[in-house]
């Protein structure tokens, strides 16, 4: 991958206990790599929140050290202010984080306390609210917002300080499934802009599907750190962590154990799984694959899309990122997928159906990469059509 293996945050033998309580963290050592998406996975009471509170210096280890960007945290006021500019923490409960009477004031809180001027603050707040999809919410009052909106305001408030690392404590905890999907999509978008992301969760499926790196935390100890695949390999780890294996992972393991799938098949998503299974079915004949249209909205093509959808009879449309979703809403384009868009469109393509992915900037390249990779691995003929201003591009 493109980032270096530099740790953004590092824990060295960190131990911590709350007053009069047994240790919450025991000699914990780990590294959060810059540019990656890390998930800290563990049951309730494992110490996840405590761990996260150490990341921005809110808690101080009894033993050991926390290192941010290569520098050990010192707990005097100005050092802490510096750390908190770099590492932004979003709490589990948005109500704990929203302190001001209006959304504008809350998001402006960080920049104002960092000493920025009114004009600059105004710009940053507008930009940040735009980034989380809440433009125009300036004068709204927190207690009239939904949980999802509150969470976004909380994230905006932290983003407004321009952190390099964003740490979120159970970001999907109080959200409904649709809200949780939107949230993960937003996080992906932020990641695309170069923010290092760390989330804590007890949702195994979420962690394994989203993260680049998974840290298993049990009773204040790290029992494993590695890519999601490495966790699957070892069911005893999951048991130790009191986590339940997602059904689909069990499926993959079961099929691998029976030799239906190669023994080393890891969980890589539904499309991969389907291909791996159908490959093994003798005499299985697949029809021709559909086309995936990619619209890069930074080229201003959104106005033409409704027409295109009509013309080509595209029945599945997905949007990645808040800008894409906003553009879709603006042009009255119905969205069928808002998270895990690539996987869902790949699935459609293998069933011979066309789909459209609306997205912006760097994500376009990522979509193209993944689709090509998938096509190549399974020898499929999925065509990719990039919708730009003049001309179109075919890749086979």
């Amino acid at each position: 991958m493109r980032e270096s293996d530099e740790p953004a945050i590092e824990f060295r033998e960190v131990s911590f206990s709350y007053p009069f309580r047994p240790p919450s963290l025991r000699r914990l050592s780990l590294r959060i790599i810059k540019g990656r998406k890390t998930a800290i996975l563990g049951p309730n009471g494992a110490g996840k929140t405590t761990l996260l509170l150490h990341c921005n210096g809110s808690l101080r280890p009894d033993d050991g050290a926390v290192i941010v960007k290569g520098e050990q945290i010192r707990y005097d006021r100005s050092s802490l202010r510096r750390i908190r500019r770099t590492v932004g923490l979003v709490f589990q409960r948005s109500d704990s984080q929203l302190i001001a009477p209006t959304v504008y004031q809350d998001v402006a809180f960080g920049p104002v306390n960092l000493g920025m001027e009114s004009e600059q603050v105004r710009e940053i707040v507008e930009e940040t609210l735009h980034a989380v999809g809440l433009s125009g919410y300036d004068r709204r009052v927190p207690h009239q917002l939904s949980e999802g909106e509150k969470k976004r305001v909380a994230i905006a408030g932290v983003l407004a300080m321009g952190p390099e690392v964003l740490v979120l404590d159970e970001p999907t905890a109080s959200l409904d499934p649709a809200g949780a999907e939107e949230m993960m999509d937003l996080l992906d978008e932020l990641h695309e802009r170069g923010v290092t992301l760390v989330i804590s969760t007890h949702d195994v499926h979420l962690a394994l599907g989203w993260a680049d790196d998974v840290i298993l935390l049990v009773d204040g100890e790290k029992i494993h750190q590695g890519p999601p695949g490495s966790v699957f390999d070892r069911p005893e780890l999951m048991r130790q962590a009191h986590l339940s294996t997602p059904p689909l992972v069990e499926l993959v393991r079961g099929l691998a154990a029976r030799g239906v799938l190669p023994r080393d098949t890891l969980w890589k998503g539904v499309p991969v799984l389907i291909e791996a299974i159908t490959e093994k079915i003798p005499g299985y004949k697949r029809g021709s694959c559909g086309t995936i249209y990619i619209a890069d909205l930074s080229n201003g093509v959104s106005a033409h899309l409704p027409q295109l959808i009509e013309e080509k009879r595209i029945r599945h449309t997905g949007a990645m990122g808040t800008i894409a979703k906003r553009e879709a809403a603006r042009h009255g384009i119905q969205l069928h997928f808002t998270h895990g868009v690539i996987d869902k469109c790949l699935l459609r393509a293998t069933m011979g159906e066309d789909s459209l992915i609306m997205t912006t900037g760097g994500m376009v390249a990522r979509v193209r990469e993944r689709v090509s990779e998938f096509s190549l691995s399974y020898k499929l003929d999925i065509s990719i059509v990039e919708i730009g201003m003049p001309g179109e591009e075919h890749i086979d």
Binding site: N56, S58, F91, A100, Q105, L114, R139, V141, H143, V158
Partner: protein, 261 residues
């Protein structure tokens, strides 16, 4: 359980988006004039006009408005009766004998009672106008323009936010208690309210600590941004408000000029 919180109306009526400076000027201006008025003319004018403005123009339901206006009626009635009976001046009308005491009803007392009642109606109407059409957040800009200390304004804004959170908690706890017969008799009610109070206090304290943690996580340095300014007022609106206040002022102060009757 709790009284109606007017904030809900304040943020969803037809006047919500109007310039708050105008609303404050109109409401508090009328209130001021009512309170210095020597005759019941201005207060009654304000009471009727404000009621019409709030119900017809701002769109607040009449039922709601009236129930709010009449809310403190027990206190009101008692006090007016007291005033009627004990104050004096003018000509004696009748005497009421209560055992060894004789209470005299006089024209002076009636005048005072009428003035007071009018003033209350007028004052409450003006207050309700502000309370029902202006979201509280607008208040903070007003406090700032009154040159109150910034710590006080910051504190007010935080209190505002914490109040809503605590109210929600209080309602939740009270509901849970009610379901378990917490308010079924006097004794239980006392106990439940006390548990509620102590629970809120402790949670509040924890919330205070959380608040500081949240503020520190965003580099709190003692600063709070003020809310954004709203729409600018149009000339028509300014003139209307001005005209209204002039009428009120005239009604309030005319008796001074022409001698009281």
């Amino acid at each position: 359980m709790f009284d109606v919180i007017l904030e809900e109306y304040a943020s969803s009526n037809r006047f919500t988006e109007r310039d708050s400076r105008l609303k404050f000027t109109l409401g508090f201006g009328a209130l001021l004039l009512v309170s210095i008025s020597m005759s019941p003319l201005a207060p009654i004018f304000v009471a009727i006009s404000m009621a019409l403005i709030v119900i017809l123009l701002a769109g607040i339901p009449a039922r709601v408005y009236l129930s709010l206006l009449l809310l403190p009626s027990p206190f009101l009635v008692l006090s007016i009766v007291a005033i009627l009976l004990i104050t004096g001046g003018g000509n004696a009308l009748t005497a009421i004998h209560l055992g060894p005491y004789t209470l005299h009803l006089s024209t002076g007392a009636i005048v005072i009672a009428i003035n007071t009642a009018a003033r209350i109606l007028g004052g409450m109407s003006a207050l309700l106008f502000v309370a029902l059409t202006t979201p509280m957040v607008e208040l903070f800009s007003l406090l700032k323009s009154l040159r109150l200390p910034q710590e006080f304004i910051d504190l007010s804004m935080l209190v505002y936010r914490c109040t809503f959170l605590m109210l929600a908690e209080a309602i939740a706890i009270q509901n849970a208690q009610t379901m378990r017969q917490g308010y079924s008799n006097f004794r239980n009610s006392i106990r439940s309210i006390s548990l509620l109070g102590s629970g809120l206090f402790i949670r509040g304290w924890n919330r205070g600590e959380e608040l500081l943690l949240a503020m520190d996580s965003r580099c709190y340095d003692g600063r709070f941004e003020m809310p954004l300014k709203g729409k600018r007022m149009g000339r028509v609106e300014i003139s209307l408000v001005f005209a209204y206040l002039v009428i009120c002022g005239f009604l309030a102060l005319a008796p001074y000029i022409w001698g009281s009757g």
